[in-house]
Symmetry: C2
């Protein structure tokens, strides 16, 4: 199996999602549509809709609600994303100038708010209280997680559990919601629904960890990003947490101030990368990712084999692919 | 009747609202609760809950849902308010330092997002699709209105209709929603429900107009605000729009650049205030407010007389009281 086969399998559903995303940009304030179009045109892989659609297919559902609900998920995701870009002062997003840079912070914050309310309008229209609660709670968790991450900025001694809480909130909770919603659409029993929910969570955690590893240890030619953004922004992530656990007292002393002082330098990054190489941090970090993906895939053994299950298994690996 | 009598009449309901607002600040990220508490402690008159509760009482409802739904309304209102303060770079709010000044823009934006999602969680719990749609649409209108206002910044030739669209979005739509929700809670027929909805809209428009008049022409000792904030921020509001319509070509030329250039001076403000005095703008602006309040109160003639109706009539006048 390859990624194109996955997209082919659910091509009409994903096309519906893209139509849905455009269809709702109907504000009579033209600027709102312009900002939202700009953000949605920048593409992205629609990973969350893919998980939602595949889960619903695995649960035996076929219908238009996957497009509506995927639209809601993408609106929530995009709202948090553009608010984060404002907060991080990001200049680029998916290789294009970020919305905040093109339209300014003010309008971008407000368009995020617009997308939240657009999401909830469609959620109300869809009319399922269970799904409404799952997504309203996910949105709450995401905003709380971002605050938590901000508070923990520059905290070199961030606990692993707190790191996991952060990546659960920022990434895993929404993937988990997508898979659970798919199960609900297909009327799966509560046990299977919880399995899919857990599957989405595991994949989401592994996905964010993988991203955090690439930030230090990825090949810039593949990622298209300068390495060390997280160091620059004072975000403690998996590879640094593992590195910290390997270092002796002297080495810790030598780098802990990198996270509290504002002045990032390439020398500091190089020094950290050399320590990461010395202590084999890439392999050790990837072990965490592999464990989560293994657990995630194992969960699916509860389901009968078909092309949708096969696609989800493929995607679990694809999401954490290393040559990105 | 006076304002204390109104509050006494619905004292237990408003106490329930205040408990509700506190009760939901249960994030396991302590900072989120801290910011929200800070914002809610700064008080405010809970005007929106007062309208919601009185409308529900007029409609014959008595029960706990007014507290839950008032909480939702206050969360949405507060979310937009703290996002606006970030955007305007406001330093003060209700005589206290603004949240963005105390906690920073980043955390304040995220806590606004938290309040939105908290609102929607409670709205889902309440479970009425009509009310959900009214408030989701109100939130959408509010964010669109803010974008529209931003686009129209420094537009000296803003049309009156566009001004009304802005104040409808930023203020009137939520008051209108509160009154309509009250009607729904008491199972009023659609005709009466629309009357209350319209009443809330009229009062909301008049309230915002009154605020915009005070910004130029209020007594700083009563308002506690420096006059001319709207001029400083390039916002065209009612008194300026009316003044513009009175001026000759030369006078317009002499002031229109005040709105496009960044450098506000006290001299410019003084000059505008002298023109406003010369052309009797205070009285002419207040005429607009009075017309709306007259229409609003007239709408209530459809309802039988009782203390709740009397309170709403009193509040209509109270909201636009001039010695504030």
């Amino acid at each position: 199996m390859n990624i194109n086969e996955v997209y082919s399998l659910i091509e009409s559903e994903i096309n519906e999602v893209n139509s849905e995303l455009q269809r709702n940009l109907d504000s009579d304030v033209e600027m709102v549509n312009e900002v939202a179009s700009y953000v949605f045109q920048s593409g992205g892989k629609r990973l969350r809709p893919v998980f939602l659609v595949l889960s619903s297919k695995l649960a035996g559902y076929s219908g238009i609600r996957t497009a509506v609900l995927s639209g809601v998920v993408e609106y929530i995701h995009t709202a948090t994303l553009i608010h984060d870009d404002v907060i991080d002062g990001a200049n680029y997003r998916r290789g294009k100038e970020s919305a905040n840079r093109v339209f300014g912070n003010d309008i971008t914050v407000l368009c995020g708010d617009f997308l939240y309310s657009r999401a909830f309008i469609n959620l109300v229209k869809d009319g399922d209280p269970n799904i409404q609660m799952i997504l309203a709670n996910a949105a709450k968790t995401m905003s709380e997680g971002e605050v938590f991450q901000l508070i923990k900025t520059a905290d070199f001694f961030l606990k692993y559990e707190d790191y996991e809480k952060i990546i659960y909130s920022k990434t895993a909770v929404l993937f988990s919601a997508c898979c659970e919603i798919g199960a609900i659409l297909g009327n799966m029993d509560i046990e299977k629904r919880n399995i899919l929910k857990e599957f989405g969570k595991m994949v989401g955690l592994a996905f964010q960890m993988s991203d955090d590893i690439l930030d230090y240890l990825g090949n810039p030619e593949n990622t298209g990003k300068k390495p060390g953004t997280d160091l620059r922004e004072g975000k403690m992530t998996l590879p640094m947490i593992i590195l910290r656990s390997e270092l002796n007292r002297e080495e810790i002393k030598s780098i802990r101030d990198f996270f509290t002082s504002e002045d990032f330098t390439e020398e500091k990054l190089s020094y950290i990368l050399s320590l990461m190489e010395q202590y084999d941090i890439k392999r050790k970090s990837e072990k965490f990712v592999d464990d989560y993906i293994f657990k995630a895939k194992d969960l699916l053994s509860e389901f009968e084999d078909n092309e949708f299950k096969e696609s989800l298994l493929f995607l679990a690996d694809y999401m954490v692919q290393r040559d990105r």
